[in-house]
Amino acid sequence: MMTDQEVSDHFWNSVKSKAMALPWCAKCARAFFYPKPICPDCWGEISEWKAVSGRGKVWSHSVVRFPLVRGPFEERLPYTVAFVALEEGPRVLSNIVACPPEEVKGGMDVQITYEERDGKWLYLFKPA
């Protein structure tokens, strides 16, 4: 079985190569998030990863206007935190970029984009 660290590395490497992949349980025929070495439904070992299409919808969002988080985010205000429901099912937490905060709406179609921030490659979403 993959260790927790190996699962995490596998996921973030897929992000770095701009092809985000989620753990896939063949038995349950489902992808899930966040990555763990076992399927939360059947507790079976994860053996596969599926690349996502990158399409999704804003499930909910919050425009952060106050320095609630210390560090570089204090300089990024305002920014939009959002849950994005991916086409594949799982819901991921991310930021909506390339869109003025007041134009982000629940249910809007978004597309994945990748960006290096503070030395780490991240999955972000922009209007589709």
Binding site: H61, S62, F66
Partner: protein, 388 residues
């Protein structure tokens, strides 16, 4: 044999900013007050359930309290479920130990010097001690409870097509309730213009939609019915009639949708155990970390219809003399955040008839409701007046 247990003593410290007071000192004061309120001797207490501080990590917390109070005690337990649900769990654990005959009298407590001793710019909550999945949350600048609840609040507004400032009546209702509680830290009333000027934190939540951390503590004494009967205690005993809880996760990453939280199962279980329904309840105390928390709890537990909380609050329904009294002490949002233990204390006070100028007429049944984490665990506990 299931005989149940009764709450016979309550203790509450001053709530606000109290520099120099320690967490263990605040809890000790609350414990002493609760034991004196019950009118019992310290030597009669054989159970202690204590929750450690949120703002700093702790280990073997209850033992520190035992030491501070100079006690020797068979059952000293550090107990944590999450938010107000912790105190429901403490009641269940104490009741089980009482019914097994292992203990007769327990004190349950929480308190913290979260306002004056937290790290600068932090929010009184050391999340790294308690959550999971940080690596999928922190890179997006989402590591604050205000943002988690902002996400839920926005989804609620979208669902019911409400404006961004819809929560104002809920926040103001709690402030009005607090104005009748001399031990509330935030009692000053405000108008819509002042609400609109309150700093926007994480949309749609403003500072006035959130609960300020506070220094303070609370405690309650729970004992066997036999003990309460034979000791002829001075206060009307308050019975634990039913408890329900459900955990579904931990972090924001697993926050359930608003109709998928543990409230539904918790409410079903507690109402079934007590043989009661929402119409029977005279007071609801809710773990109001944020104004959205009030709407979530009331609506999911059936205390009002879906999407109706804002209107209910706007017509004065949440006041002590309203149609659905909620957090008559002002709650976390206006009394100050003391973890939810004062939600139990207030419910007992109201059921005893000791709530003074904010007394609910003929209050007989109270529901203590709440969640821990971003609706990671939800619970409800029903309390009733009398019956020993």
């Amino acid at each position: 044999m299931r005989d149940g247990a009764v709450i016979v003593g309550i203790g509450e410290t001053r709530v606000g900013k109290h520099p120099g007071r320690s967490t263990v000192g605040l809890q000790a004061e609350a414990v002493i007050r609760a034991i004196r309120d019950a009118g019992i001797e310290r030597s009669e207490v054989d159970g202690l359930y204590a929750l450690g501080p949120y703002a700093t990590g702790s280990s073997m917390h209850a033992l520190g309290l035992v030491e501070y109070l100079g006690m020797r005690i068979p059952h000293a337990v550090s107990y944590d479920v999450g938010g107000t649900v912790t105190f429901m769990g403490m009641c269940l654990a104490a009741t089980a130990a009482i019914e097994e005959g292992r203990i007769e009298v327990a004190v349950c407590t929480f308190g913290e010097n979260a306002a004056t001793r937290r790290a600068p710019q932090s929010h009184g909550f050391d999340r790294k001690m308690t959550m999971n999945g940080e690596e999928y949350e922190l890179p997006f600048g989402a590591g604050s409870p205000l943002i988690w609840y902002g996400l839920m609040a926005q989804r609620y507004l979208d669902r019911y097509k409400l404006p961004q400032d819809a929560f104002f009546p809920i926040a103001l209702a709690l402030r009005k309730n607090a104005s009748l509680n001399e031990n509330a830290a935030y009692r000053e009333l405000y108008d819509k213009a002042a609400y609109d000027k309150s700093p926007m934190m994480a949309e749609p939540l403003r500072r006035l939609d959130s609960s300020p951390v506070a220094d303070g503590g609370g405690a309650f004494v729970i004992c066997s019915k036999r003990f309460a009967r034979e000791r002829r205690l001075k206060h009307t005993p308050i019975s634990v009639l039913g408890v329900g809880m459900e955990a579904t996760g931990s972090s924001i990453l697993h926050m359930p949708d608003m109709d998928q939280t543990g409230f539904e199962a918790a409410g079903r279980e507690a109402f079934a155990e007590a043989g009661l329904s929402p119409e029977d309840v005279d007071l609801v105390t809710i773990h109001d970390g944020f104004s959205i928390s009030i709407a979530m709890a009331l609506e999911t537990l059936g205390f009002c219809g879906p999407g109706e909380t804002v209107e209910l609050a706007a017509r004065g329904g949440l006041a002590y003399d309203g149609e659905r009294p909620v957090n008559t002490h002002g709650g976390l949002m206006s009394q100050g955040h003391v973890g939810g233990v004062l939600h139990v204390v207030e419910a007992v006070r109201q059921l005893r008839g000791d709530a003074g100028s904010r007394q609910i007429r003929d209050a007989r049944i109270a529901a203590i409701c709440g969640n821990g984490g971003p609706f990671a665990v939800c619970g409800m506990m029903l309390l009733g007046k009398g019956s020993c």
